[in-house]
């Protein structure tokens, strides 16, 4: 990925303010370029099927759940943390909402159940981390194990088929010709973007991740905020659980497997610093799409998944290297 320096003539004032913005834009442009190139590769190898409406819809529906989880993960990572438990929370929420007992109460209760289980798990993470002072890696690793265990126990390791037809009809349907899952993905991203970039909550998230001590001494309740951020991540997992259940018409303890890794990878590729304080949801969205398109290209061309995984690994390393060169530029400028 070459970082071409595109100079927009009208935004080139003598003393170049808002370099930060431009760096970000530059990187996003680069990422978007990668996405376009990948789409071109897809089109070149499968001109008859790649850019069809059906394939794009399939790709987006596949990307939906992981995309929603990545929104929550972006908040967590910008706030300076990490969440390894998202996959297990997706599994637990999905299993809990599809038990025979829950399904008997109807679709509304099923949806509420998934959201509440997700939110609850996230808040437990947040409380352990902020008030229990357990480092995020360990606290969410514990949640990863126990949520997974609870999901297995609830389901008896069996796949629970959704018999509630109201639920499947709605979530598998279309609105204005676009699948509900894609609407949901778009809605979560839009709400997330506004929350992160236009509200006091987002401002505090950046502050806590950028310099927790400075945020604390500015009068921000860092612990409460941290707890809330993990709550949001959990809620996103609950929404993702709905999507997975709708797509597969079943809930199982194996749902959401490796979501934590895919989500972290998408966030990092999107240019969010793992150390916190800087990041962008649009970058995360592009990161998710890049992974989805790569996966689709491999599936369309009947290539092995192992090669696909190698490609994913290469993309992650390349993105991090790119991030480091930009970080070094910054360091040179500030000192």
């Amino acid at each position: 990925m070459t970082e071409a320096r595109v100079l927009d003539p009208k935004s080139a004032p003598p003393e170049a303010p808002r370099k930060h913005r431009r760096h970000l834009d530059l990187r996003l442009t680069g990422l978007l370029g990668v996405l376009v190139v990948l789409c071109a590769v897809g089109y070149a190898t499968r001109p008859d099927s790649f850019l069809t409406e059906a394939n794009i819809s399939t790709m987006l529906r596949l990307a939906a759940a992981i995309g929603v989880v990545s929104v929550g993960m972006t908040f967590v990572i910008i706030s300076g943390g990490i969440d390894l438990s998202v996959g297990s929370i997706v599994a637990l929420s999905g299993v809990w909402m599809t038990t025979v007992a829950t399904q008997s109460y109807g679709p509304v209760v099923m949806v509420l159940c998934a959201l509440l289980v997700g939110l609850g798990c996230g808040l437990v993470n947040g409380l352990l981390i902020s008030y229990g002072r357990i480092v995020p890696f360990i606290a969410t690793l514990a949640m990863y194990a126990s949520a997974k265990g609870l999901a297995e126990r609830l389901s008896g390791r069996r796949t629970q088929v959704v018999t509630e037809t109201g639920f499947t009809t709605f979530f598998r349907g279309d609105i204005l010709g676009v699948p509900v899952l894609i609407w949901m993905l778009a809605a979560v991203f839009a709400v997330g973007w506004v929350l992160l970039n236009r509200t006091t909550f987002g401002r505090r998230t950046f502050a806590v991740g950028g310099n927790a001590e400075a945020a604390r001494l500015a009068g921000i309740d860092v612990r409460r905020h941290t707890a809330l951020v993990y709550g949001i991540a959990g809620l996103c997992c609950g929404i993702a659980a709905l999507m997975v259940v709708a797509r597969t018409t079943s809930g199982a303890s194996t749902n959401g497997m490796f979501y934590e890794l895919d989500a972290i990878a998408a966030v990092v590729i999107g240019g969010t610093l793992l150390s916190g304080g800087r990041g962008s949801l649009i970058g995360t969205l592009i990161g998710v799409l890049i992974f989805t398109v790569v996966g689709n290209i491999f599936t369309q061309n009947n290539l092995d998944t192992d090669i696909q995984n190698i490609a994913k690994g290469v993309i992650i390393v390349a993105a991090v290297l790119l991030q480091r060169t930009t970080a070094r530029h910054r360091g040179a400028r500030t000192t």
Binding site: R203, F206, A214, A218
Partner: protein, 532 residues
């Protein structure tokens, strides 16, 4: 220069001449000269910020000087790295001991130069040699296998010294070695220093305690504002002369005239009663009126920053109360303190004050987010407008609120921190070392800002390592020593020399000390001329 250069000693071990070192925004060292003879205890004296620490770091190879020459045993040399300094025979015992707490005494002593055979460490040999070093240092009871983190402060110091000896050091730099020691441990340290110098090893000894210097010192070099103002004085130079040398006022620093009519003595804004934190400070009581500037003077480690942070709720007091406008503030909660109207510009501007990744506007409104939002949504237009107005009021240049705060100079960054509390409209502003790392021109502007804030009715508390600054800016001064308030007086009743005398000599001030110092102030003025 008033340097009383004695006839050059025959065996000159180290000679530093014209050493200069500039950090961004600060000239930390400017023309420093230092001579250390073999087998002497050479004392380095100077106020906080005079450049002692930087000089030590140059000597230990941690910093590279910009100019100047270093001569080691008659031959010019450079100290490109800590390892190079150690190889030459210069070992440094830092104030914050650089030991690894989780490994054993012997491993610490031989860290980085473990005795080996065929690539395997010879742990028994390391243990034996450590045991012998500890015996030599008078503490054979310290077990070489003991974890360093479980030793007392004095024990750690011995380990640090053993490490210096294990390197066959010719010069040992000791940075305030007695700061953490009890009286009998100090005696033991001095006995060891005596033995070392008897064996031809030299010691560069840094301490604020003049009585110690008199006890073990051979010669004294005085630093001030990064310069050597007196070199190779005999250790028995009278205290008053040494204090004068350290305190001669900086010529370029001009403090604005203080109009004390802004002080509203009828309104006590900040009241601090019997505030105590075990091991940090004890029974601290003071009050600040509206429009008043209270200065806090004291050495580093006397509890200055700790008191400010406790008032601000960033540390929880063991006992005592803080009240704003007569209403008690919940202890140990920054959120409560900010709500009550207290603001803090912390000591470490970058680590504790600023979000370097964010714009100035975002930094400025960080403490007032609810005021700049409606139902949680940021009112960005008003945010920009108000930040810009505040930046202009503080003369922060360039007054571009969209710019990253990391791109500004130290003085302007400090203004951004002050702007945060201005925007919030705080009643009490705590300033911890507001001019650290700020160049002279920007300092004058900050001084003006501080006075303007007071004029606007804010109660200001100012902590500074520079006594002159505290006296020049404050209406009233608290002097701290070892966590206790030993003096509370109007600033115009104190002189820099008197304050230094209180914080350094270890004796509580008496009326006679004040008059005496007031007299020596005149001599200081003379000295200053000579220095220039």
């Amino acid at each position: 220069m008033q340097a009383q250069k004695e006839g050059r000693r025959e065996s000159n071990l180290l000679r530093m001449a014209g050493i200069g070192k500039t950090f961004p925004g600060v000239r930390a060292l400017d023309q420093v000269d230092l001579d250390v003879a073999e087998g002497e205890v050479h004392c380095l004296l100077g106020q906080n910020g005079a450049g002692k620490s930087t000089l030590i770091k140059v000597l230990s190879g941690a910093h590279q000087p910009d100019d100047g020459e270093i001569t080691w045993r008659g031959a010019p040399t450079t100290l490109p790295s800590p390892v190079a300094a150690l190889r030459l025979g210069i070992a440094t015992m830092y104030q914050e001991l650089d030991l690894v707490p989780d490994i054993s005494v012997a491993e610490n002593v031989f860290l980085g130069h473990e005795p080996t055979r065929f690539g395997f460490t010879r742990r028994a040999a390391a243990r034996d040699r450590t045991q012998r070093l500890m015996t030599r240092l008078g503490h054979p009871e310290i077990d070489p296998d003991r974890e360093v983190g479980r030793l007392s402060a004095a024990g750690m110091q011995l380990v640090s010294m053993a490490r210096a000896l294990a390197h066959d050091a010719r010069l040992i730099v000791m940075d305030e070695p007695t700061a953490a020691l009890a009286a009998d441990e100090v005696d033991n340290l001095f006995r060891i220093v005596g033995e070392l110098t008897g064996a031809g090893v030299s010691v560069l000894y840094i301490s604020h305690r003049l009585d110690e210097i008199r006890r073990i010192g051979t010669r004294v070099t005085v630093l001030k504002d990064g310069r050597t103002v007196a070199a190779n004085l005999p250790a028995h130079t009278p205290t008053a002369d040494l204090v004068d040398l350290m305190s001669g006022r900086k010529v370029e620093t001009v403090f604005p005239h203080r109009d004390t009519s802004t002080v509203d003595t009828s309104r006590e804004v900040l009241t601090v009663t019997d505030l105590t934190r075990e091991g940090e400070f004890k029974d601290v009581t003071f009050h600040v009126h509206a429009g008043e500037v209270l200065g806090i003077a004291g050495l580093v480690g006397a509890g200055r920053s700790e008191i400010l942070e406790t008032v601000f709720g960033a540390r929880k007091p063991d006992s005592g109360h803080v009240a704003v406008d007569g209403r008690p503030v919940r202890p140990g909660s920054v959120v409560a303190a900010v709500k009550a109207g207290i603001g803090l510009a912390p000591e470490e501007r970058k680590a504790q004050g600023l979000l370097l990744d964010l714009s100035v506007a975002h930094n400025v409104t960080l403490s007032s987010l609810p005021a700049y939002s409606r139902a949680g949504f940021m009112d960005r237009a008003r945010e920009l407008k108000d930040s810009k107005a505040t930046l202009e009021r503080l003369d922060l240049r360039p007054a571009d609120p969209g710019r990253l705060v990391a791109e500004f100079s130290g003085g302007n960054q400090q203004k951004a921190v002050v702007a945060r509390w201005l925007v919030r409209g705080c009643k009490v502003l705590l300033l911890d070392e507001p001019t650290r790392g700020v160049d002279v021109g920007a300092r004058a502007e900050l001084y003006r800002v501080i006075h303007e804030l007071a004029a606007a009715g804010v109660a200001v508390v100012l902590v500074s390592s520079e006594v002159a600054e505290v006296l020049g800016l404050a209406d009233r001064v608290l002097v701290l020593r070892d966590g206790e308030v030993v003096e509370d007086r109007r600033a115009d009743e104190l002189t820099e020399a008197a304050v230094l005398d209180i914080v350094m000599s270890g004796s509580a001030i008496t009326e006679s000390a004040i008059t005496e110092s007031a007299i020596t102030e005149n001599t200081a003025a003379v000295t200053e001329e000579e220095v220039q």
